[in-house]
């Protein structure tokens, strides 16, 4: 039974954002005996609300931020005036991005936490080591995999760090792209392995297994087989009787007292009435864009530069969702629309190799990346006609015979890449809109170029009769969905926003946990690490609360 608290009750914890991280935190804290209120700006949808409607979910913001009410301003550099572009995209409902994500669930490698030490500094970037190691996070990766329900094959990825337990569920059935990819990669001496995914290959914890409908990426799962926080941990949190999830609650400010401690947050409820929810401690899990934005909005006399921002790094080091679609045509039908998006991938080009002359690396997966209309509009070879009988012939004959390889590549942290408040544009609640300043580091471009060559090699080895590369290296071409780096984790309060346990250096009862904590981008696919960090931060907060540090 879901709890019900009054705004005037100072609950133990206020969690802002009910997504991949917030759902985990809410469950951990409430299961440990604490009272929790979760504020979510989006609605509370259920599996009955979702459909296989490509127009609604991929051509309209069905489950994501809607720029009509929340404009996103984008500029390439500080010298430009920002213009409205949906440059970033995030899940906007209870469950957040864990509802509509493709469900790839990669652990970071051991090297990801120490790349500055391994590789050295990169010109024009701020590459740093994380304050934690893979070993610190490993128990929490395992906990996440078991709590949420992850399918995969332990030991199949030779580059993965040691794991304390195998996956709780076996891999999903391989599809034709997985077979072609695996054959080709092996021929090239690479190490393909079954994709770890937050999708149930078998019934698990009261939820049924996936039925291979094929609508994972951008869609909510109608079968509850995608292991979103909406269907896994949030119901557990509510069943404790100590957790209340409030949808349609849009936070505008975190309040602090004269001693500089967080006292709760002011939000607009569904009828745009302002409510102040009191709390003894606050977790912000609003994603790598909305978390820094909320801190910047939470200015006060004591925190004139924004809350928890004495480092002046809140909003800085935004890292982009880099990668490229490279496609190949095959003789026989693959019917890629059947089954989950990704069944095989490689991490052979993951490590940053100094002999390349630039920093970076990437993973490559074989995936269904274009639904029917999206394929005809964005998935054809760039030299294909865009209308007429030849256009029609190509999209009709290519749809089921195309294999897409998507790469996931590094984005370097650069101080100039940032989230700030736009000076002019406002959202529908009258708050300053978010302004994104982003351009690629030259090494990010070099990495993408290198990995595209590897993608083409694999497609050739797989027997593609034709290959093509989709446009890449244009930041505002499509929205960035992995929002990382904007409240960086570190031991030095001058060079980071949160400590190694996601607690802000400046405000002892304020935690931030989501992609904003990331010091490096790894090779994208951030959800497993976001959730492992959330479990770890919750553990720390529970201990701190028991020591009476959070009042």
């Amino acid at each position: 039974m879901s709890a019900k608290f009054r705004p005037s009750d100072a609950v133990d914890f206020l969690v802002i954002g009910a997504g991949a991280a917030g759902g985990v935190v809410a469950k951990e804290l409430s299961a440990a005996g604490f009272q929790v209120v979760v504020l979510e700006q989006g609605p509370y949808l259920r599996e009955n609300d979702y459909t296989h409607d490509e127009i609604k979910y991929t051509f309209q913001p069905g489950l994501t931020n809607d720029p009509k009410i929340q404009p996103v301003m984008y500029r390439k550099s500080e010298t430009e005036v920002a213009r409205p572009v949906k440059a970033i995209e995030y899940g906007r409902q209870v469950g957040g991005g864990s509802v509509h994500f493709t469900a790839n669930y990669w652990r970071f490698h051991e090297s990801d936490f120490h790349e500055r030490s391994l590789f050295g500094q990169v010109n024009g970037a701020d590459l740093e080591d994380w304050p934690i190691s893979y070993a610190d996070l490993e128990p929490y990766y395992t906990k996440a995999e078991y709590d949420l329900g992850i399918s995969g094959l332990a030991g199949a990825n030779p580059f993965e760090g040691p794991r304390s337990k195998p996956y709780p569920l076996p891999p999903m059935p391989v599809k034709s792209s997985g077979v072609l990819f695996e054959r080709a990669a092996k021929k090239l001496g690479l190490h393909p392995f079954p994709a770890p995914v937050a999708i149930l290959s078998r019934p698990y914890q009261g939820r049924a297994a996936c039925v291979n409908c094929g609508f994972c990426e951008s869609f909510g799962c109608e079968m509850r087989a995608k292991s979103s926080t909406l269907v896994s941990v949030i119901p557990v949190a509510e069943q404790t009787g100590r957790c209340e999830v409030r949808p349609n609650s849009y936070v505008r400010k975190i309040e602090t007292d004269t001693s500089g401690r967080a006292t709760g947050a002011v939000y607009f409820d569904g009828s745009r009435k302002e409510v102040f929810q009191r709390a003894k401690a606050v977790f912000v899990c609003a994603n790598g864009v909305e978390t820094p934005r909320l801190l910047l909005l939470s200015k006060s006399a004591r925190f004139p530069n924004g809350l928890a921002n004495t480092s002046d790094l809140v909003g800085k080091y935004l890292m982009w969702d880099n990668g490229c679609d490279v496609q190949g045509l095959f003789e026989h039908p693959l019917n890629e629309y059947k089954g989950i998006q990704v069944t095989r991938l490689i991490h052979d080009y993951y490590a940053a190799d100094p002999t390349r002359g630039f920093y970076g690396g990437g993973g490559i997966d074989a995936r269904f990346d274009f639904y029917p209309a999206g394929f005809a509009l964005h998935g054809l070879p760039p030299d294909a006609p865009r209308w007429g009988s030849e256009f029609k012939r190509i999209f009709e004959t290519y749809f089921n015979r195309t294999m897409t390889l998507l790469s996931h590549t590094t984005a370097l942290a650069q101080e100039k890449s940032s989230i700030t408040l736009d000076p002019d544009s406002k959202d529908a609640w009258g708050l300053p809109a978010v302004r994104i300043t982003y351009d690629y580091h030259p090494d990010d471009m070099a990495t993408m170029k290198l990995i595209i060559q590897k993608q083409l090699e694999i497609l050739d080895a797989a027997g593609a009769t034709k290959t093509w590369v989709q446009p890449w290296g244009v930041a505002d071409n499509m929205p960035c969905r992995h929002l990382m780096g904007t409240c960086r984790m570190g031991n030095d309060p001058k060079k980071s926003v949160v400590n190694a346990h996601s607690r802000t250096h400046d405000v002892p009862n304020l935690f931030l946990v989501d992609g904003s904590n990331f010091v490096t981008s790894a090779r994208q696919q951030p959800t497993a690490t976001i959730q492992a960090l959330a479990y770890r931060a919750a553990d720390f907060a529970i201990e701190a609360a028991k020591r009476n540090e959070l009042r």
């Binding site: 490509e54 076996p170 891999p171 997985g178 049924a208 026989h332 029917p372």
Partner: protein, 243 residues
Amino acid sequence: MRDGLPQTHSCNFRYGTTSADLQPRQICTISGMRIRPGLACHVIIQLTMTHTRRDWLFTSLAMASWPEVLSAQEHARGAAKSGSSHFESLDVASAAEIEAIAAQVIPSTEAPGAREAGIIYFIDRALATFARDRRDAYRAGMAELQQKRRELFPQSDTIRSLTDEQQIALIKSAEQTEFFELLRTHTVLGFLGNPSYGGNRERIGWRQIGFEGRMAYQPPFGYYDAEASAETLHRGPNGEEKP
């Protein structure tokens, strides 16, 4: 398939391994509705037999909760509407002009094209709903195209009365414009998007590309995984997954 959904559908249900799953869980593979556990098995079997969607809805009234039924009815109503033939936002004359362009974007060849898929009804409804803010773009874009038509073919009265060659020449003169890109996008969405929006009639577009549009599939999915099922891709001697 008159309402854009298959006449025959099966309801998938599975038995789980945990105690919570000991009761059958029925899931309608079309609406994704979860039906309450504890349903007698003959009902389940009946559900897997051939039914029209409407029959199924009536059958389900007895066992699904009201919100589920209402949402399914709404869904069915939306699907039924896709057969409508009146316009909500366009007048008949401009609809015919727009359709003539759409029919060159996805022409009717030996296989059906935009015209047969009912693209114009999709565009009409789009301009009344999610693309309401593009009405002016259509008005201005079509006016500009008519102007081009008069310049290129001064004897002509309408776009639809031009020959194929003339229509193609007209589009070539405008293919770089924002309006053409909008019309092209809408034509493709109407051909390959969900039939509930009024286009993709009888699932014409989906059938052309080989998209079955079902709610569940079983492996093998395509040619290569079927071919490989006998191979030893990550499988041990008993077919078990192994590194």
